[in-house]
């Protein structure tokens, strides 16, 4: 329906999910949000997104498992994936890399920074 780049966002905290949505919609992206990994995977299979912003710890399927599942699916095998994490342990960040994530953003994150990271990967929809 639109030519806006589609981004999959997943976070079990509805307020943070809305924050991601607001931050990115204002920059001209289209967002589909899910409260857990399993729902997010279903959405991605219905409409493959151009990028994914995923929380690390979620019920049913966590961010690492979801990343691996997205990587296993041909349609989403190469999309940029950013992991949001409150974890401060370097081992978790390393695990995200191993699972196939391209970048991680520490929580609490600045919506401005998130927007910047997404534009780094997809380009600025408002810019052209």
């Amino acid at each position: 329906m639109s030519d806006k780049p589609l981004i999959l966002a997943a976070d079990d905290d509805p307020d943070i999910l809305t924050l991601i949505r607001l931050a990115l919609e204002r920059a001209g992206f289209e967002i589909m949000g899910a409260p857990d990994g399993r729902a997010a995977l279903e959405l991605a299979r219905e409409r493959p997104p151009a990028m994914a912003v995923l929380d690390l710890s979620m019920p049913h399927m966590n961010g690492l498992e979801l990343t691996a599942a997205l990587r296993a699916d041909e349609a989403t095998a190469t999309i940029p994936i950013v992991i949001l994490t409150a974890a401060v342990q370097s081992s978790d960040i390393e695990a995200a890399r191993v699972a196939g994530a391209d970048a991680h953003i520490k929580k609490p994150f600045s919506p401005r920074d998130l927007r910047g990271r997404v534009i780094e990967f997809l380009g600025d929809p408002a810019g052209d």
Binding site: D13, I16, V88, S110
Partner: protein, 453 residues
């Protein structure tokens, strides 16, 4: 089967004690026999000697009744006191002398000597027997006791020393961090009880460690999640252009406090991780001038609000090896401290310079300075100076302890100079990497408390 070590030791000890007592008893009896025999022998020798003298005198004397013979007889009677048979024979000697029959007296004396010799031979034999018996029994007792004691020692080694060593090994493994270490619960009642208590303790330790980990994971997640929403939405609101001046100012205060709360959570978690020995450094090349500039830029709004000038002075420096986030946190903490103590209109200078073997960074304020009494305690965790408490300066006293922990982990040094009324300078160094040393990816942070400044 409940084998009780005390009972067994008591039993073994009792047997040894009884054996030793028996040996002593036999030896005492032998010694007494020997003493009796010796005194018999001495008496016999005396009698024989006295009788011999008397015989000689009888042979020498023309007349039988004379003073030397009387005194000889008297001596003989004294020597034979307590032996009626022999006294009877002495009476025969006396009668013979009274009768003037010297040869009969000599014969009677000879029979006294003969009997006495027999006596002495008998008692010597008796004493010899007794001594032999004592020697044999003593040797047997000695060997028996030695064997028993050796047996007890071996038993004790197995029953006590072996389980003790086993428990010590497990305790050492636990001290090294392997909380799953356990001891086999076997052997006598007491060591088994020790092993059981030890295992119980280890299990409790493991459980409380697990709970602590869970708690910190929970705190980390549960406190950061709402703070993520608060700070994120504030930013969205502050991005709007139609805010009134007042609203913007109020929301900025909210944001500042939310960030303070966030930093406090971060500090607590940092300390918790260091305590658990679980904090690792992500090492890489670090440009400390760049890090310092970022810290100064980030603190600039706060400085402007407090009407304090915050300046960076520095020269380009070679990169050091370290954790860029942690080193940034160090400078952030020092700048944040300086801001707390610097009054309006004064200046804070962050200085980066190339020192002999590394980079030296100092943060100087023009605050009230720190009393000498407080200087030595500043790196202690949760230490708050009297000045901080009096002026109600916010903070829990973690900042400098974190600074010291991070600097220590980078093999640097940190020190404070301060003059009351003039200001305070905190300086730390991060050494340049030794050219030959291989860079370890993640060095564990050592936690040292109460180090002298």
């Amino acid at each position: 089967m409940n084998r009780n070590l005390i009972t067994r030791l008591g039993l073994a000890g009792g047997i040894v004690a009884a054996g030793v007592a028996m040996v002593f008893l036999v030896m005492i009896v032998a010694i007494r026999d020997q003493r009796d025999a010796t005194s018999d022998l001495r008496q016999a020798q005396e009698v024989v000697a006295t009788a011999s003298i008397l015989q000689t005198r009888l042979a020498d004397q023309a007349t039988l009744s004379s003073a030397p013979i009387d005194s000889g007889l008297k001596a003989l009677r004294e020597a034979l006191a307590g032996e009626p048979d022999q006294l009877a024979r002495t009476a025969v000697v006396e009668n013979a002398i009274a009768d003037g029959d010297a040869s009969r007296a000599v014969d009677a004396l000879s029979s006294i000597v003969l009997v006495q010799s027999q006596h002495s031979r008998q008692s010597r034999e008796k004493a010899d027997d007794s001594a032999n018996r004592a020697v044999v029994l003593g040797v047997i007792g000695l060997i028996g006791s030695t064997l028993l004691i050796a047996g007890m020692t071996i038993y004790l080694a197995n029953a006590i020393v072996v389980p003790l060593r086993r428990t010590t090994r497990a305790a050492r493994r636990i001290a090294e961090g392997d909380l799953s270490s356990r001891v086999k619960e076997e052997g006598d009642a007491e060591p088994r009880e020790l092993a059981r208590a030890f295992n119980q303790m280890a299990a409790n330790l493991q459980e409380s460690e697990r709970q602590k980990d869970e708690f910190f994971a929970l705190v980390s997640h549960e406190l950061r999640t709402p703070l993520t929403s608060i700070i994120g939405y504030l930013e969205l609101v502050l991005d709007a252009e139609d805010l009134s001046e007042d609203d913007r100012r109020f929301l900025e205060i909210v944001e500042r406090n939310a960030r303070r709360l966030l930093r406090l959570v971060g500090d607590m978690l940092f300390i918790a991780q260091v305590e658990a020995g679980r904090l690792t450094l992500e090492r890489g090349p670090v440009d400390l001038l760049k890090v310092a500039r970022e810290s100064v830029d980030a603190a600039q709004p706060a400085a402007q609000r407090d009407m304090v000038t915050l300046r960076l002075e520095g020269e380009p420096v070679a990169p050091v090896e370290g954790d860029v986030d942690r080193l940034g946190q160090t400078i952030d903490n020092l700048v944040s401290n300086a801001l707390k103590f610097t009054p309006e209109g004064r200046e804070i200078v962050v200085h980066v310079r190339d020192a002999d073997h590394g980079v030296e960074i100092s943060v100087s304020d023009q605050g009230a300075g720190i009393p000498a009494d407080d200087l030595g305690h500043l790196f202690e965790r949760f230490y708050r100076s009297a000045q901080e408490s009096r002026r109600a300066v916010p903070g829990v006293g973690l900042g400098l302890s974190i600074v010291k922990t991070i600097v220590d982990a980078h093999h640097g040094v940190v020190w404070i100079t301060s003059e009351e009324g003039e200001g305070t300078t905190v300086t730390f160094t991060v050494p340049y990497p030794a050219t030959s040393s291989p860079s370890d990816e993640s060095a564990r942070l050592p936690m040292r408390q109460n180090d002298a400044v």
